[in-house]
């Protein structure tokens, strides 16, 4: 950790790496969740596998949690350092003249996603941990779909989720291509990376929003 924090370039490299890892996880998360729209059985099978597989539970899940915490903690550390590097603030600073709102406000979009994660963990992860590792209830492979649908019966929760997905889209729209730049990737293929970033940053959050709205309307 100390080695990573020692240099501006290593810090941004670490942010990029953790960001790409989280984007990969989001893709996997979406791929499983979207099955709930067309098949209760497939969704339950995937969820049962993810919820009971030892590698997923005791290797991948801790890595994921570490990745999430690292990305957010590092984000806040970088922001504190950056504010300090400015020193005296400008009386007039026209940030919109040379950079997008999204790129200048990753802390706002990221902070909103963090708040959403707290709600999301409260909704799904905490009950899941409680079910399996505190109350030690017998595993029921068919419970996952019902648990998911039940959460999206509440309109307020669906609205909160959709708003969060908008901020997630904003965060990803800068984060995707920015991660590649931080890792030293800027060449003739950069326009392709940027286009992929646009597809990913709109497609994945829109897909998650669709799942939430679909189950709300379908219950």
């Amino acid at each position: 950790m100390g080695f990573v924090l020692s240099s501006t370039i290593l810090r941004k490299f670490a942010m990029a790496l953790s960001g790409l890892f989280l984007m990969l996880f989001l893709l996997q998360h979406f791929a499983i969740n979207i099955t709930s729209v067309f098949s209760e059985t497939i969704f339950n099978q995937f969820s049962h596998f993810m919820g009971t597989n030892a590698i997923v539970q005791f290797v991948l899940q801790p890595i994921l949690i570490f990745g999430v915490i690292f990305h957010f903690v590092m984000g806040f550390i970088l922001d504190i350092q950056n504010r300090s590097a400015r020193g005296t603030r400008y009386a007039v600073y026209k940030g919109s003249a040379n950079a997008s709102w999204v790129s200048r406000n990753m802390l706002i979009s990221g902070g909103t996603v963090l708040a959403f994660l707290a709600l999301h963990f409260y909704d799904f992860w905490v009950p899941e941990m409680n079910y399996k590792y505190i109350e030690f209830l017998p595993e029921n492979p068919d419970r996952y779909y019902e648990e998911l649908v039940h959460k999206f019966e509440d309109l307020t929760r669906v609205i909160l989720y959709v708003i969060s997905f908008v901020f997630l889209a904003l965060h990803l729209s800068h984060g995707f291509s920015s991660a590649f730049q931080s890792m030293g990737f800027n060449n003739k293929y950069t326009p392709v990376v940027k286009s992929l970033g646009k597809v990913y940053s709109i497609g994945i959050p829109a897909g998650f929003a669709f799942i939430a709205i679909f189950h709300f309307l379908n219950h």
Partner: protein
């Protein structure tokens, strides 16, 4: 044109500064921004007021001295120009213009609009050079063939005048565009390969020690750079740095 100027006044490095307001009449649209400042200073001296201190030298966009933050942008609202190349035709009669020094902790204000940018010199001293034996046996640089594409990119990077607009514009006060331009201009040439590892490690280390912020890829530096230095250079520096770290 008649203008209202709000200018940062600070007596010395330790004094507390503030924005002061001045009215200026008779400004021609053909004047450069610095000529307008000259007119203001003449008016101030006639009134017995200390003239506004500002850096300037070549007044043709080469020296990189004229560091002013005008209406919220480094070198003002025009693109690919320094403050001395900015003309008053970019403003309208009756405008209020805010003029501040470049702001960054590593660029402390010396007086009014003059800032100490020797942090850039120290970064340059840390590795922004090639060591050449000048004992009389020096090989002619033209004897080493270099691909046109590489030569062009190296030259583009070398056009950085070290004005500090990248630092001033970046919301994080990051100096990565400047440092990456200096790293790139040698990284692309065979003459720069011998010291490549030490160069990037030492220059980045010095940059960090000076207290510049982290790059978050907003791209503001590239937009405000008077020489159009590309973000591609930052990506190249990142590659060079990561590769140098792996070599140890």
């Amino acid at each position: 044109m008649k203008l209202t100027l709000k200018i940062w006044r600070q007596e010395n490095a330790t004094a507390k500064g503030s924005m002061q307001t001045y009215s200026l009449k008779g400004v021609s649209t053909d004047m450069s921004f610095l000529e307008m400042m000259d007119v203001l200073n003449e008016q101030l001296m006639e009134q017995g007021i200390d003239p506004v201190a500002f850096d300037h030298d070549c007044r043709e966009g080469i020296c990189g001295s004229c560091s002013m933050f005008i209406n919220g942008e480094a070198h003002g609202p025009d693109r690919l120009v320094t403050t001395c190349q900015l003309h008053m035709r970019k403003f309208k009669d009756g405008d209020t213009i805010h003029i501040e020094p470049f702001r960054a902790k590593p660029f402390p204000v010396i007086k009014d609009l003059v800032v100490d940018r020797t942090a850039f010199d120290r970064i340059q001293h840390a590795g922004g050079f090639v060591s050449v034996n000048t004992s009389g046996n020096t090989q002619d640089a033209n004897a080493t063939p270099i691909e046109k594409a590489d030569a062009d990119k190296a030259f583009d990077a070398a056009t950085c005048i070290g004005c500090g607009a990248c630092v001033a514009s970046c919301k994080n006060a990051s100096a990565m565009l400047f440092v990456s331009a200096k790293v790139s201009q040698y990284a692309l040439l065979p003459q720069g390969q011998v010291e490549a590892t030490d160069r990037v490690l030492n220059m980045v280390k010095q940059m960090d020690e000076e207290g510049f912020g982290n790059c978050t890829n907003t791209g503001a530096c590239e937009v405000e750079c008077p020489k159009g230095i590309s973000l591609e250079n930052i990506a190249r520096m990142n590659r060079e740095y990561l590769s140098a770290n792996m070599k140890g």
